[in-house]
Each structure stands twice: as C-alpha cells, then as structure tokens.
C-alpha cells in the first residue's frame, strides 16, 4: 500500500459539529490503509490564520490537504501553491473557488431552504417567524441566509418578526429566545441555524406554548423531537461526517480514482416529526448516548467506511 500523509485544516474549535468532523476524518484515515499519517491543524482563527496553517501543511510535505474553508475566495494563494506542488486539495463542508480543488460540500443554501420551506408549510404559509442565524459576516451564515431568503420569497404570507445572530452559541440563543418570549409579541415558528434544543428548553421553561421549530440533526435536538410533548419540528441533516468523506475522496484521487466531477454536493435531508414515517426515521437516527452537540448522522453512506465505535474513539493513524 501507498504511504500517504494527509493534512487537515479547520478554523473553528470547540463546537460539536466541527469536533465530529475532525473525528470522522481521523476515523476514516484510520480505516484507509494507504494513509499512514494525519496532520491536523485545528484552532479558532480567521482566513489569514488558515492560510498560515495551509502553508505549514505544505511545508510539512503532505500528499493531500482536506480543509473546511473559512471562506471560498480567501485561501486561493495557498491552495494554488499546494496544487502546483502536486498536493491534492479537497474542500469539505463549503466550497473554494481555487481552480482544480475537489469540493465535497454540504449544500448550505439547500440546508436553509429545505428547513425554511418545511416550516413555512407547517404554519400554513402565513405567519410570523423568528429567524435565528449564526455568526454575522461568516460565509456559511451568508449561504444559509441566501437559502432562507429564497424560501421566504416563495411564501409572501410569511413575515420575519425577529432576526438575530446567536453566534452559534447555546447560551446566546437561549437568552435571546427568552427575550422574544418576554415581549409577548406572538410568533408562529422558529428557524434556527443549529442552536436548537436550547430554544425548545426556553419555551418549556417559560411555560410558553411550543411552536414549530427547525433545527439541525444534532443529537440533543433529534432526541427532543422524539421526547418533548407538543413539539413539532424538523431536523435538517448537515453531517459533520462529511470530513470523513473528504478523506476518502482525497485517497481516491491520490490512488488515481478521481471522480468525474470536481464538485460533489452532499444534499441535506429533512427529518420531521409531524408524520408517522418521519417519526420512524427520527427514531432510527437518534442516539441518546452521543454528545448532544454532535450531529447524529455520523456516517455518509457510500463515502465513509468507519464504524460508530471508531468515530467515537476519534483516533487517527499513529494515535495510540
């Protein structure tokens, strides 16, 4: 077997989704027999910091780089240099504009569109919605906003009464929801960008009647969809395990089995608990033992090869 060294670059630390992504990368690298070494650069930083990490990975002589880009356009200088040196570049989760890079991306615009559309249908095409976004000025948030706006345009009866940025922080989101509830201004549904189960808690704790809530497939929220009385909601999948798929793709490319298209979009799926079959899907997907911030979709069928145990162990090649 070949002996590949793969470099990983990620710019958000301390968030369940990203942690799962890293663990999926490790687990996939472990089961890929051609990968002998995985170098992970994983910290909180901006695009300039990611450039630094990418350059360091190039210096370290990796064969492929799998990155979750902080921005589609900002990293081109390093990515082009990498590809010029024959390094395979795979962007996961979001795309990059550098020519020649493989993109294995969660379709963020679709993610928002799917959930919003379901929500607007759920409230009957007419009503007041709370729109809880992520971090202002960050690419992923902008993509999702585009999807949300697209759905909004299709439902003229829907009005956004509150729009707020949670900063993708649990405490912020919960506190903001308390504030909205306190104003007494009624609303009919909540769309969240993944800060979801604390929103349900806010309703329950303040004794307010629940309204339909859209969240992500985080373990905590998915469990709430099965448990909480009177909660109608939907989880849109946004698998962190796409990172594992990225490793698999990189190895394929290194082994000369490059796919036809450079861009592979992993389209999200929506699980709702309003219908019988939806509930069945959710029951099958949920995993109460998982860290509540982790997405329950721990594998990407057709791409990843590791087992549940392996991703939870979170060990890569060379880790003891």
């Amino acid at each position: 077997a070949a002996e590949y060294t793969i470099g990983v670059s990620n710019t958000v630390q301390g968030n369940g989704w990203r942690e799962e992504m890293i663990c999926a990368m490790r687990a996939q690298a472990l089961v890929e027999e051609d990968v002998t070494n995985l170098i992970v650069a994983h910290r909180n930083t901006d695009s300039a910091g990611q450039l630094e990490d990418l350059n360091n990975l190039i210096e370290a002589g990796v064969d492929a780089i799998v990155l979750n880009p902080s921005n589609p356009d900002a990293l081109n200088s390093a990515l082009e240099m990498a590809m010029a040196k024959g390094i395979v570049v795979v962007a996961v989760d979001a795309g990059v504009s550098a020519e020649g890079a493989y993109i294995l991306s969660n379709n963020q615009e679709e993610y928002a569109y799917l959930g919003a559309k379901w929500l607007f249908e759920q409230v009957g095409g007419k009503g007041d919605i709370v729109y809880m976004r992520g971090i202002a000025g960050v690419s992923a948030d902008t993509d999702r906003d585009n999807g949300f706006k697209r759905a909004l345009a299709e439902y003229p009866g829907i009005k956004v009464v509150h729009e707020v940025f949670t900063g993708w922080q649990q405490d912020q989101g919960k506190q903001q929801m308390f504030d909205f509830l306190a104003t007494g201004i009624p609303f009919d549904g909540v769309w969240t960008s993944g800060i979801d189960n604390v929103i349900v808690d806010a309703f329950v704790e303040s004794g307010a009647p629940l309204v339909p809530i859209v969240g992500a497939d985080n373990a905590g929220f998915v469990q709430y969809l099965t448990e909480v009385d009177g909660l109608t909601g939907a989880a849109v999948t946004n698998p962190g395990s796409v990172g594992g798929a990225g490793i698999a793709l990189a190895v394929d490319v290194l082994n000369g089995k490059a796919p036809g298209s450079k861009t592979v979009l992993v389209d999200p799926v929506l699980w709702e608990n309003a219908s019988e079959e939806g509930r069945a899907t959710i029951m099958a997907a949920q995993n109460p033992n998982l860290d509540p911030e982790w997405p329950v979709s721990v594998t990407v069928p057709g791409w990843t090869d590791y087992t549940m145990e392996q991703i939870i162990a979170c060990k890569g090649p060379g880790d003891s």
Binding site: Q13, I22, N37, L38, I39, V40, A41, H42, R43, N44, T45, D46, S47, A48, G49, L51, E52, D53, N55, N56, L57, I58, E59, A60, G61, N71, D73, A74, L75, N76, S77, I135, A136, G137, V138, S139, D141, T142, G318, D319
Partner: protein, 313 residues
C-alpha cells in the same frame, strides 16, 4: 544604565530563542528553507502590525482592545474600495481611516477621562459593528499587485518581501517619532503622567498621538489581511490577545514607559514559528493549544526569573 542593559538583555534573549527555534525547525524538516521562512513571515505580517500598534499604546500607559476590530474595518474598506478605484489611493484612504479611528479612540479616552481599557473595550464593539456595516459578509477584492507584493522574496534575494515590507512600514512610521520629542513624550507619559505633565508634556495630545499611531499600524495590519486573503472579512481575527501576549513577551511593561518595538516583533515570530514546528511535528491540535499556552507562560516565567525585572514595583 542597568535599565538599558536589562532591556537589551531581554531582546537578546528573545533573539537567541528565535534562532534556536529556527534551527530546530530545520532539524525537524530538513527541507525547511527560504520558502518556509517566507511563509512564516507572511503569516506573521498581520500579527506584527497589530503588535507594534499595541506596543505603542502600552508604552504610553494604555491598552487598545480594539486593534483587531480596527484591522477588520481597514481590511473590508480596502477590499470594497479596491473594487472601485486604483490600489494606491485606496491604500492611502485606508491608512487615513486607521489613523482617524486611532485618534478617535485616544480622543475619547482623553475627553471622557474613562480608563483606556473601558473606552477601547467599547470601541471594540463599535469598530466591529462598523466593519459589518461596511461589508455584511466576506467579499470585495484587493488589487493583484498588492497580493503579489507580500509574496516571494524578489526585492532582496533571500529576504522575504513580507519581512521587508513590515520593516519598512514600521521604520518609516516609528523611527522619526521615536527620535523626535513625541517619542520621548510617549515614554514619559507612560512612565509617570504627573511628572510628564509637570515637565511640560501635553499629556492628552501625546496620548491621542499614540493611539493614532496604533490606528495607523492597525490599518497596515488590515491591509496585510486584505493582501493575504484577497478579500475583506468583517469579522475580527484573533489578533487582540495575540498582540497583548506578544507585547508582554517582548518586554514591554503593561502600565507603560518601558520597552521597545523590537522585542514584541521578535516575540511575534517566536509565536508563529512555534506553531509551524507543532504542525511539522504533527502534534495533536488540542495538545498544540496546551503547548502554546505553556510556552507563553513559560517564556515569561523564565525571563522574569532570569532578569529579575519587576523588582521595582
């Protein structure tokens, strides 16, 4: 006399540490050479500017928590302007903007008599908001030549352009000031404000000038961000804490009056190279965080023990 020796000993120690780290990098990765140096210099660029700006205000006895936010404002402004106009006037506008933001910070501190840390904490939010108002999400673009200028090492063979540019910018701004009365006044104000006032220093104006310089360096920092990424990002990067850490590591005393710019700049390179080494060694990223924290604390501890600074409290 001993003060000068103490100061220089600190900088010399840092320099020695930097050399040791460079040698270590070379040993870990025999291929590490000009291109590696070049990429470190480039990565260090925004940190260098943030740190020099911070160092100047710390020397005057203040602190500026809004550096990273001001850098974001400058970066997005540069990216927006360069879509519309030529690069050079855009750069001049950005530099003027940085200076203006710094002067506003300083002016507010002097006018309201609210402590530096509070004013700049508030301005951290203000400038961050301004950046978002200028550009809602990452975008814009920067002139091609600007992006190219900080790459490679064609200006002086072997010396990374980024390093040359940083040196020139800092030298052009700081050296004349340091030599002039304003430089002395900045140190005097930071060292003992009352004595400075009694010695005829216009304390308020000196302070405003120092914050203005910090704003100017933030503008350089913002420009370097725009040059690195080719776009403008309205979200402040991790430059605040990093610059405070580098300033203190570099031997500038929080509280003012003591230290120079060379030490903090060397400290920036030390912190950057440590990260490179950890990546080259493929250290677990979580352990990397632990090691970075330990090094930061450890170096200051060792330095304190070795030179017995702070003996005069």
């Amino acid at each position: 006399m001993s003060g000068i020796i103490r100061k220089n000993a600190w900088v010399a120690g840092l320099l020695a540490l930097l050399v040791v780290l460079l040698v270590a990098t070379r040993m870990i990765q025999p291929g590490f050479g000009v291109s590696g140096l070049e990429s470190i210099a480039r990565a260090a660029l925004p940190f260098v500017f943030a740190t020099t700006g911070m160092a100047v205000v710390v020397i005057v006895g203040g602190i500026d928590l809004s550096v990273a936010s001001m850098m974001a404002v400058c970066a997005v402004t540069a990216a927006v302007l360069m879509e519309r106009m030529a690069g050079v006037p855009a750069i001049l506008i950005v530099l003027a903007l940085g200076l203006a933001m710094g002067v506003i910070n300083g002016g507010l501190i002097v006018a309201t008599r609210v402590p530096d840390i509070v004013v700049t904490l508030a301005m951290l939010f203000v400038w961050e908001g301004v950046a978002l108002l200028i550009l809602e999400s990452p975008g814009g673009s920067t002139a091609d030549w600007l992006q190219k200028s900080i790459r490679g090492s064609f200006l002086i063979p072997g010396l990374p352009n980024a390093l040359v540019i940083a040196t020139v910018c800092i030298a052009v701004v700081w050296l004349p000031i340091r030599r002039a009365r304003l430089g002395i006044a900045i140190y005097a104000t930071g060292s003992d404000e009352r004595a400075a006032f009694r010695s005829g220093v216009a304390v308020g104006r000196t302070r405003i000038a120092a914050y203005g310089i910090c704003g100017l360096f933030s503008a350089f920092g913002g420009l370097s961000l725009a040059a690195l990424t080719g776009i403008g990002e309205p979200v402040p990067g991790p430059y605040l804490l990093a610059s405070v850490a580098a300033v203190v590591l570099g031997g500038v005393v929080l509280g003012g009056g003591r230290g120079g710019l060379l030490g903090p700049i060397i400290a920036v390179f030390i912190l950057r190279i440590v990260r490179t080494i950890l990546t080259l060694l493929a250290v677990d990223p979580n352990v990397t965080t632990i090691i970075e924290g330990t090094i930061m604390v450890g170096v200051v501890m060792l330095g304190t023990a070795a030179t017995m600074r702070g003996a005069r409290t």
